[in-house]
């Protein structure tokens, strides 16, 4: 149990949350809440794993996993953008559908055994730097994709014309529409981007970080944690990355707490009574709630908030905010 190991493992598992949270940031910035992240991640996880089991091609698995997530999100897009259905209910349905479909498709996959995973990379020289080296030593290639995606997403949202349009349709779609921005088409695009990234997040679990298929437990609520993380991150990719890696590190730390019989001479109660580990299992979920409370107060103080039109359908030709 040393800091570097915890950091390295935290970055690896945090990458899963990072992809899902980035995808949700894009969808929510465009004004569409998608609560189907858990379902899309499960689909991505099972498709990525299943395809790799039967073809031996993890890259193909990854591509199809993203496609599966994207397809599911398209269903949500049709429901809430074209049909103007309630975004909360449609997103929940997506989680149900994704979970059920994934379980049907995953039948028998739990006995699949080892598969070929996506490659791991080490950046020479930098890897030998203490602490910082954990970021680039023996990490999955997807972790590096995560590093690249964060500044890209930030730049796209805050520094490009497309990003300006994205923020506009999430804050004030009527005005964006008046300026000739196609609100419907852009919302479709960003919801599907969210789905692709959720699929990627799912595949990151089964093809890189924690390979294997364990039914619902493969994702085990991490899709929901990602949705909570977006609120904590105040819809900003960089804050999302910090939150995701920190969250990953804390989860790892909690896992490591179960091992030793004592800490610096103080007896470890969990070592003696193993059922106490269930309290450790609660911590990440309680942490999300605490983070939400803190985040909402901070957002209120700084007058930062969700995209103003988040959750509201845009109906062209009708007056609205």
């Amino acid at each position: 149990m040393d800091l570097t190991t915890i950091l390295a493992a935290g970055i690896a598992t945090g990458t899963i949350l990072l992809f899902a949270a980035l995808g949700e940031i894009f969808a929510e910035r465009s004004g569409v809440l998608n609560l189907g992240v858990e379902g899309m991640m499960l689909m991505g996880a099972v498709v990525g794993f299943g395809v790799t089991v039967s073809t031996g091609q993890p890259w193909l698995g990854l591509a199809l996993a993203m496609a599966a997530g994207g397809l599911l999100s398209l269903l949500h897009a049709v429901m809430v953008i074209t049909f103007q259905a309630d975004q909360v209910v449609s997103g929940l349905s997506l989680t149900f559908l994704g979970t059920g479909l994934a379980r049907v498709m995953g039948e028998g996959l739990s006995k699949a055994g080892a598969i070929s995973l996506l490659p791991k990379l080490t950046v020479p020289v930098v890897a030998d730097v203490p602490i910082l080296g954990a970021f680039v030593r023996d990490q999955s290639i997807l972790v590096y994709v995560g590093y690249a995606l964060v500044p890209l997403a930030w730049y796209w949202i805050h520094r490009t014309r497309q990003g300006l349009e994205l923020r506009a349709i999430g804050e004030y779609p009527t005005a964006a529409d008046a300026l000739g921005v196609d609100v419907y088409r852009l919302r479709y695009r960003y919801v599907v981007v969210g789905g692709l990234l959720a699929g990627l997040a799912g595949a990151t679990i089964t093809l890189a970080i924690q390979p294997g298929w364990f039914g619902d437990l493969t994702v085990n609520g991490r899709g929901w944690i990602a949705v909570g993380l977006v609120i904590f991150a105040q819809w900003d990719p960089i804050r999302a990355a910090v939150g995701a890696y920190l969250f990953g590190a804390i989860s790892r730390l909690l896992f490591d707490l179960q091992g030793p019989s004592d800490f610096f001479g103080v007896a470890n109660p969990i070592f003696k009574d193993h059922s106490l580990t269930f309290f450790l299992e609660m911590v990440p979920y309680i942490l999300v709630i605490v983070v939400l409370v803190v985040g909402s107060r901070e957002a209120a103080r700084k007058r930062l908030g969700a995209p103003a039109a988040l959750g509201r359908p845009f109906i062209r030709g009708e007056r609205g905010a």
Partner: protein
């Protein structure tokens, strides 16, 4: 809409344009018809998927019908499975009616089951307490525990504006871990993930208890919990329809702005409705431990609290219709236990929910195919 902008609304680029026109009036028969249509559509689509993954849809559906309604014994089993779904369904329907997204019925169910078990196992009442005292005490404890669990998201939403969906979901995981701690730890029997069996005085009366009077009742496990569940559903329906308080719940749900102008304290109502919703879901947990398993164990719910969301939605948030929807899903859950692959019932639920929200579009809009000019 200006003519110049019209083409952009088109869904396709063909000369025929699909347009949604808002209905000014909804024909009264259309509500039931679209729901029925949505169910048929969902079952058909599910059948297709079952066939694709190599199953036999006809056999699957026939199995569901016979395994759920094929005789008094299995009908009784269906009602037993429907009981927790009615209670959690009513819990969700009440909260949803006020547009409070309580996705935490599952956790509140577990807390209710834990509270009822605490009465017997701590024990809060001395062993040998007669059932007439013990059972109401268990119900009270379960209700209070569920209500406290519901109070957390209610308070956080009312005070800090924290999103209740995420909080209730996170609390589900916390509640399940809490329950596992007790069944693996202090209350474990012989290291297994279950507690000792409760004394008979804590069992809810079952129809099979009357077997000595009439042999026909023998083996029928439907218990008093079903009657309680129906009574709670009727009570909540009455409150929503006939009382000022129920009117306020509906008003906040339909138009928070109007409710605020009417001087309704929305924060107070949020906390209260969340607590009651949690308490009712907690009763479902009580009913399961006292009526079915007669002990606390790790796996006590196959996801009743999540299915309840669909039950409430299918019932259009009407507690009386929740009873019917819960029996439908009770049948699906019961028969689903033997269906392979095991994910099929969950998948059918997801498809059904989607086709229900899709069908609502038909209620609100008329779909017109318009030939484009030029």
């Amino acid at each position: 809409m200006t003519p110049a902008a019209a083409p952009r609304r088109s869904v396709t680029r063909t000369p025929v344009e699909v347009r949604l026109e808002r209905r000014l009036e909804v024909p009264h028969w259309l509500g039931g018809a679209t729901t029925a249509g949505a169910i048929v559509f969902a079952l058909a689509l599910s059948a297709l998927i079952i066939a694709i993954v190599g199953g036999d849809p006809v056999k699957t559906y026939l199995h569901i019908v016979t395994a759920a309604f094929g005789g008094p014994g299995v009908i009784s089993d269906t009602l037993v499975t429907a009981t927790p779904l009615i209670l959690t369904g009513v819990a969700c329907a009440l909260a949803f009616r006020m547009h409070l997204w309580n996705i935490g019925a599952e956790g509140q169910f577990f807390l209710g089951a834990w509270g009822a078990s605490a009465v017997v196992l701590v024990p809060l009442l001395p062993p040998g307490t007669p059932g007439i005292v013990l059972i109401p005490a268990m119900m009270l404890a379960g209700f209070v525990c569920g209500a406290l669990w519901g109070l957390i998201p209610g308070l956080l939403k009312a005070r800090y504006g924290v999103n209740e969906i995420i909080v209730t979901l996170m609390l589900n995981y916390v509640a399940i871990a809490w329950n596992l701690y007790w069944v693996f730890g202090p209350w474990s029997e012989g290291g297994f993930q279950l507690t000792r069996q409760f004394p008979r005085s804590s069992w809810l009366p079952r129809l099979t208890d009357l077997a000595s009077i009439d042999r026909a009742f023998s083996g029928l496990t439907v218990h008093l919990g079903f009657v309680i569940a129906v009574a709670v559903a009727v009570m909540v329906a009455f409150v929503l329809r006939r009382t000022r308080w129920g009117y306020e719940v509906k008003l906040i749900g339909d138009s928070p702005q109007a409710a605020r102008y009417a001087g309704i304290d929305i924060a107070r109502m949020t906390i209260l409705v969340f607590a009651i919703s949690g308490g009712v879901a907690g009763l479902a947990g009580v009913s399961e431990v006292a009526g079915v398993v007669h002990r606390l164990q790790g796996a006590i719910s196959p996801g009743y609290g999540f299915t309840a969301i669909i039950v409430a939605y299918l019932a259009k948030f009407d507690p009386l219709k929740v009873i019917v929807a819960a029996i439908f899903f009770g049948a699906l859950t019961l028969a689903g236990r033997e269906i392979q692959p095991s994910g099929i019932p969950a998948m059918i639920q997801g498809i059904l929910l989607f086709s229900l929200i899709g069908s609502e579009v038909l209620l609100r809009y008329r779909i017109r195919f318009v030939r484009r000019i030029g």
